[in-house]
């Protein structure tokens, strides 16, 4: 799909900026589409530029998801809003066991954004889509007044096909299941925070933003028996486990010493008083699976760069319904047990 992209010259002048008229539907909108989006994303489904993309059908069930990306700064160590908008939506599909096929992409651009910046983002999106093997097949562009956006927002929706016979989801989690995390935590949130606030920490903080569908497909292909997958985005591991446990009779118990967090992230979190279990990730997921499948799953995960630090961190058991048994329990470093609560509001850095 990207043959046209490599020949794409930087449209018009890179120093030009987006004006309201670029979103008005007139000539400037057409120029933006013809010189920026179409050459970058070009594929057989997008190129007709019809009102909607007409897509082929696939065997099995479909998975469909949508997400909005408002990250600031637009570029951060390890990624940018463009690649994030592709990988984030792909990962939601991957967690359903789906092979990601098609994406839509809507751009809400603040007046005054430079073409150079937009081109960088669009280029990154196109490269991410090509790398992941998905097509961006439809989209939209709107421009808002200066001061009414934060440079650029992107919304993507994704469509994927689930192989016949594969059924993953929270409904399959059972007491006795084990909890495996695909890698070390907290990288995306801390990389973005340090970039946004101009904080410098010891060590290299880089976002973990990455597509996860290939490792999921490999797990399925290798015959690993999986019950449920969930990607760890905002709110981190703690919030993801809560989302899975809420409304069920299940209790998720995790072991603090076994949760992988790398030293630079630990250091930065310690300094700011943040808990890495609540910090955002963009290339990590948690797996719920029978105990008998753990070794196989971890072996497959560790063959992939994106999940080479995969490890088992806990288990699932039945909650005592009569007492106020918590949904998520943490066994601390010193062997005591406590609730791992949902976050109330944003994590705010402490005074000292």
């Amino acid at each position: 799909m990207n043959q046209g992209f490599s020949q794409c010259p930087l449209p018009i002048s890179p120093d030009e900026t987006i004006r309201l008229a670029h979103g008005s539907g007139g000539r400037l909108t057409q120029r933006l589409i013809q010189h920026m989006f179409r050459p970058a994303f070009s594929n057989a489904f997008l190129d007709p530029l019809h009102d909607g993309a007409v897509l082929p059908s696939y065997e099995g069930r479909l998975a469909f998801t949508t997400d909005a990306y408002v990250v600031h700064p637009l570029f951060f160590p390890g990624g940018d809003i463009g690649s994030l908008a592709v990988y984030g939506t792909i990962n939601d599909l991957a967690m359903c066991g789906a092979v990601p096929r098609f994406l839509s992409a809507s751009f809400i651009i603040e007046e005054g954004l430079s073409f150079r910046t937009l081109h960088r983002v669009v280029t990154s999106m196109a490269e991410a889509a090509a790398k992941a093997g998905v097509h961006i097949v439809c989209g939209d562009t709107k421009v808002v007044d200066r001061g009414k956006g934060d440079e650029l927002f992107i919304a993507t929706s994704g469509l994927g096909s689930i192989p016949s016979g594969l059924d993953l989801g929270p409904h399959r989690i059972a007491s006795g299941d084990r909890i495996v995390v695909s890698g070390d935590l907290g990288n995306h949130g801390m990389a973005v925070l340090s970039q946004r606030e101009g904080l410098t920490f010891a060590g290299d903080l880089r976002s973990d933003s990455a597509p996860l569908h290939k490792v999921v497909q490999d797990l399925v292909k290798q015959g690993v028996g999986l019950h449920c997958l969930r990607d760890l985005t905002r709110g981190g591991l703690a919030s993801a486990l809560h989302e899975l446990a809420n409304g069920t009779r299940l209790q998720f118990c995790i072991d603090e010493p076994r949760i992988p967090v790398m030293e630079p992230i630990r250091g930065a979190c310690e300094l700011l008083g943040l808990d890495p279990l609540y910090v955002a990730n963009e290339g990590r997921f948690v797996l719920l699976l029978p105990a008998s499948e753990v070794d196989h799953a971890v072996a497959v995960l560790q063959q992939h760069e994106v999940s080479r630090h995969a490890t088992e961190i806990g288990h699932v058991r039945l909650r005592d319904e009569d007492s106020h048994d918590p949904a998520v329990l943490l066994r601390t470093l010193v062997g005591t047990e406590r609730i791992l609560d949902m976050l109330s509001g944003e994590q705010l850095p402490r005074i000292c």
């Binding site: 329990l329 062997g335 609730i339 000292c352």
Partner: protein
């Protein structure tokens, strides 16, 4: 991680606890002064592992929690002014004043910036010469040197658009207030390691002698806390009341002399109202007359006129909140009738439920199973 992993070692914690159990013969009530220490105790549920005779109660060491309403109201009032950029540490933002909190003010268009160092506010003042940058100087002795440095630097640069709402408070007067209360139950203190890193612990020696209480300067990791408890209980069991330094990797008896000199040069002690305690003499810091130009309460006196009466009226709003008793160590957060029901982090009745160092927040967030 150096200086961290070895102080979170489960075996060392257990070994200290075994010793603690072996030497404890009677009931004792201890107080950890700092909210950071409270969070470690509750986060690792160390309280579950202590011998049953030892009762640990939580002290006033949450600067956000003791900051009086009128200063929060002043910060909110100034943040709502179009020409002001209000700079605050993050965990001050959710603390309710009379008319909401700084996060709410920000949502309504107020100019509230989270800063990580007081010097960040100076950078903002340099970058926005047409704005008035106001720093909210909250904290115990720990953060006072950095604010002193910022004021000195502003004076050196001749910045006329930088000022501070000074809410700094001092630890020793609060300990004295607790010890001199007829209802005092505290028999020994774990003093705050980071405060002593700046100030040293010389000033606690008179306090320990006068009230016959052992004081142990203690760090913030699980091993620190159990060692601090052990050193305090050992003294109580032997009838001693010395000041000991568990946090020797950071604290010297005289503290950091450069930092102390900086604080001394820029600030002077003043009477301060503590939320939950009331007015305590010489318990806060104010800018010395030489630096009074940098006092936001003076600079914006006209705009802030009339606020204090409103804040005074509002103290009746806090009647439901028993955080005063919590901050004085007279009530455990979980024993408060509003805890977890009418008072939660989403709907706090008082500051200790929302501050990162608040005892109520620690109890709520790290409830045991």
């Amino acid at each position: 991680m150096k200086y961290l992993d070895e102080f979170r070692d489960a075996h060392l914690v257990r070994a200290c606890l075994d010793q603690l159990r072996a030497i404890t013969t009677r009931p004792w009530t201890l107080m950890e002064v700092c909210g950071g220490q409270t969070h470690t105790i509750v986060r690792y549920r160390l309280d579950q592992l202590l011998p049953p005779q030892i009762r640990v109660i939580h002290g006033p060491g949450c600067p956000v929690c003791v900051t009086p309403m009128e200063l929060i109201d002043a910060a909110i009032e100034l943040a709502a002014s179009p020409e002001v950029l209000l700079c605050s540490f993050g965990d001050m933002l959710r603390v309710p004043g009379t008319r909401g909190d700084l996060l709410g003010c920000k949502a309504k268009g107020g100019n509230v910036h989270i800063i990580y160092s007081p010097l960040d506010a100076l950078q903002l003042a340099k970058a926005h010469p047409h704005k008035q940058v106001v720093g909210f100087a909250v904290g115990f002795e720990t953060t006072a040197p950095a604010h002193a440095l910022a004021v000195k630097e502003a004076a050196r640069l001749g910045l006329t658009n930088y000022s501070l709402i000074v809410a700094h408070v001092l630890v020793p007067p609060a300990l004295e207030a607790i010890l001199s209360s007829p209802e005092n139950q505290v028999q020994g203190f774990l003093a705050a390691g980071h405060v002593c890193t700046i100030m040293g612990y010389e000033m606690y020696e008179a306090l320990a002698r006068r009230y016959r209480v052992p004081i142990v300067v203690t760090g913030f990791e699980p091993v620190d806390l159990v060692e601090g408890l052990l050193l305090t209980i050992q003294q109580l069991e032997e009838g001693r009341y010395d000041v000991l330094n568990q946090y020797a990797r950071s604290v010297r008896r005289m503290g950091n002399m450069n930092a102390r000199a900086l604080v001394e040069e820029v600030f002077e002690p003043t009477t301060r109202t503590w939320r939950g305690f009331g007015e305590l003499p010489a318990s806060g810091l104010a800018l010395r007359p030489t630096y009074r130009d940098y006092d936001a309460l003076v600079r914006f006196a006209d705009r802030l006129a009339g606020l204090s009466e409103k804040s005074a009226v509002s103290t009746s709003m806090e009647q439901d909140c028993q955080s005063g008793l919590v901050l004085q160590g007279r009530l455990k957060p979980s024993d408060c009738p509003a805890f977890g029901t009418r008072c939660t982090p989403e709907h706090p009745l008082g500051a200790p439920m929302v501050s990162a160092e608040g005892a109520c927040a620690a109890y709520y967030r790290y409830r045991s199973a």
